[in-house]
Symmetry: C3
């Protein structure tokens, strides 16, 4: 099935047979929709069947957006319902297969990465972020939902229960240094050093043997991946939450304010989440008075 | 059954229907005895049955003492023996129900919080502490006991085995910044910023939907709470330790030196624990020479 | 069975009946071979049967080497095959028994500690390291192997999956401060303060009761030690990896360059691992051109 180049949400740069860069380039904001998941599914097949490949670095071509967040305007295709190779729904299948791939994955983060995008980087083997230009977080609570793609399962192992609850329940952004201090990412680096650091690490890993890399990663996975039934529980609960009236109401409110349309709102929208309903009530009250 | 106001160890300030502050105010040092647990039990019922409530912040009205520690003079009522709603003894039941409550709990820590009080903040969903005025730790080993209210079960998940063993086996205090670096608390903040930070966070969480908050917290709990049988083992072992002659001896020694009586000793008593028995032996030896 | 003093890889300094220092002194580099494991096995028996003992500090007498790494020239005796008291092979048995001993163990790290030596310090109850003079890491991937003595099982609990994968897959050194930031060690201290800090901590712990220390450590262990079957899987996989031709090839390459022979190479060898095969290919290509 042929695909139009202009709709491809990402491109693969084969730096060497052992080291690829995958560049998200899906204007205007790298919103995560069904096409992004389809492209990741295709990539996973290529990764696992390319014997020369050792490591993939995921980065963005759009300055302030790594991957913005889950599409809240409905372009979800079948990713919530169709079942992938792991036996889990496509959305979760994509993340689970990335964690279990013999190929090493590194997220090189610049810009916004929220909700499902945070879950994408949590499914990568390592996370490095720009000190000056990172907004990482889980705003789901602010729109009446909760994380459903592994965030509630992967964060506690990385940052402990207290910080996981803060990240999830505050629905707020974390900058690079805060994310490093919490253990959310491996390391925050000055923006000018980020590319060099990740490049050197990726080329070093690319020089090692695929069999040894796969064995080591598998051993670490055995004691660190969340069980599939926990992931599925969260996913199912998330699917239900999408139908809650209070969630629908909040989602509508942020979309009306400019989500997925207005760049400056898209950049900073978690800031307003604590006043979303209150402001609206105030506005209603003002309306009635007029 | 009416209660005399003057014996209430804490008061509830209903800032909004969704956000309460609970203020420990039990002079002179907020010692944790049976009355504190009874008040927490009553609070838990109110929290779980108040549908408008989203978040509770726990703080202290006594400058240098958040909650001092477990009462070592015997005012324990039935908290070690009576069984609470969870099927666990009251002491542990209180902590377990706090972790599982649909209401979010935040510990805002100023002053001393040791032993069972550390276990109380570990049972809260998040912990923020004053950089200048925090003494958090587990002095139990220094009085011949070990933690029995969840410390040995909750710390390893938060800080890893090595740091958990240091905290527990050193029986020493940790200041705010050390506690943050270890992951013992979410964050240490300058004292002047602590109230504002926690207030903003609590009001933000209070603006979200109770159903979504409860679902998210429950998902995180599934992968981060210690199993009940581990908690019960520690509790049972702690009950036995209270009867050990060497523990009785050490407890008597710190009580004689001024614990629960002398404010300056109460503030800094873990400092002497490394010399408690040695000093006593020296004193005995000096006595014999005179 | 008499042993020649000059071949003893470590000596025990009994500071007090409750506190011992164990000093690795096995020139030139404290390479971990069968003799080191035999000495540790003997020590474990002494530790567990000396009722007065509370705490053991492990340190090195050789300035730049704590314990260098696993012997890659074959002096492994029966540590991969003979079964120890725990039912696990001697190498793993040594580490597992150290974690479960009623005696508290503290690693005081100065110099290089790589691979199996990192696994030794990970099996100690606490780890403190010199800020100026620590090179801690897992270079196994760089020689075509993977960790086999518990590194892949213990690191994820301490540092989370992402940082564990970085440590293991990058095969690079971590200095004291980086290791502290990641949670790999308890704390990094200025070299001039390290001895005093550890000495004070050890003497404090030594003043506590053995029964309480053992009970507390056991409770922490219940929720923080990796299961034996995971440890055995890693060990078995490591044994197989030793026979892989690509591993044999890489090991030969580092031994030819000076490993276990040349002090300056031994100090810094992980630096070359990213170019080990590439450089060799270049050299072969150069040879052909000549």
């Amino acid at each position: 099935m042929a695909k139009l180049t202009e709709t491809e949400p990402m491109r693969v740069v084969e730096e060497t047979p052992a080291y690829w860069r995958v560049v998200f380039d899906y204007p205007p904001f790298n919103i995560v929709d069904a096409d992004v998941f389809q492209a990741l599914q295709d990539l996973l097949v290529r990764m696992d069947t390319t014997e020369s490949l050792r490591v993939v670095v995921f980065e963005s071509a759009i300055p302030d957006f790594y991957l913005a967040h889950f599409d809240l305007t409905g372009k979800l295709g079948n990713i919530m319902t169709a079942i992938g190779a792991s036996g889990l729904p496509i959305l979760m299948d994509t993340f689970v297969r990335l964690t279990k791939s013999p190929v090493v994955s590194i997220a090189k983060i610049r810009g916004c990465a929220r909700g499902v995008s945070s879950e994408f980087v949590l499914a990568c083997d390592m996370r490095f972020a720009s000190r000056e230009n990172t907004r990482l977080g889980h705003p789901e609570l602010g729109v009446g939902l909760h994380p459903g793609g592994g965030g509630t399962e992967r964060l506690p192992h990385l940052v402990g229960r207290g910080r996981a609850l803060e990240i999830v329940l505050s629905a707020n952004d974390f900058d690079g240094d805060s994310a490093e201090r919490y253990g959310y990412i491996n390391r925050s680096l000055p923006d000018a050093e980020l590319d060099g650091f990740v490049e050197a690490l990726a080329r070093r890993i690319a020089s090692f043997d695929r069999r040894a890399l796969a064995a080591a990663k598998n051993l670490v996975n055995q004691v660190s991946l969340p069980p599939a039934d926990r992931l599925l529980d969260a996913f199912t609960s998330f699917g239900a939450a999408l139908t809650w009236p209070e969630a629908q109401h909040r989602i509508q409110a942020v979309v009306e304010r400019g989500l997925q349309r207005d760049a400056s709102f898209e950049r900073a929208w978690p800031e307003v989440l604590g006043n979303l309903v209150a402001t609206e009530k105030q506005a209603e009250s003002d309306d009635k008075q007029n």
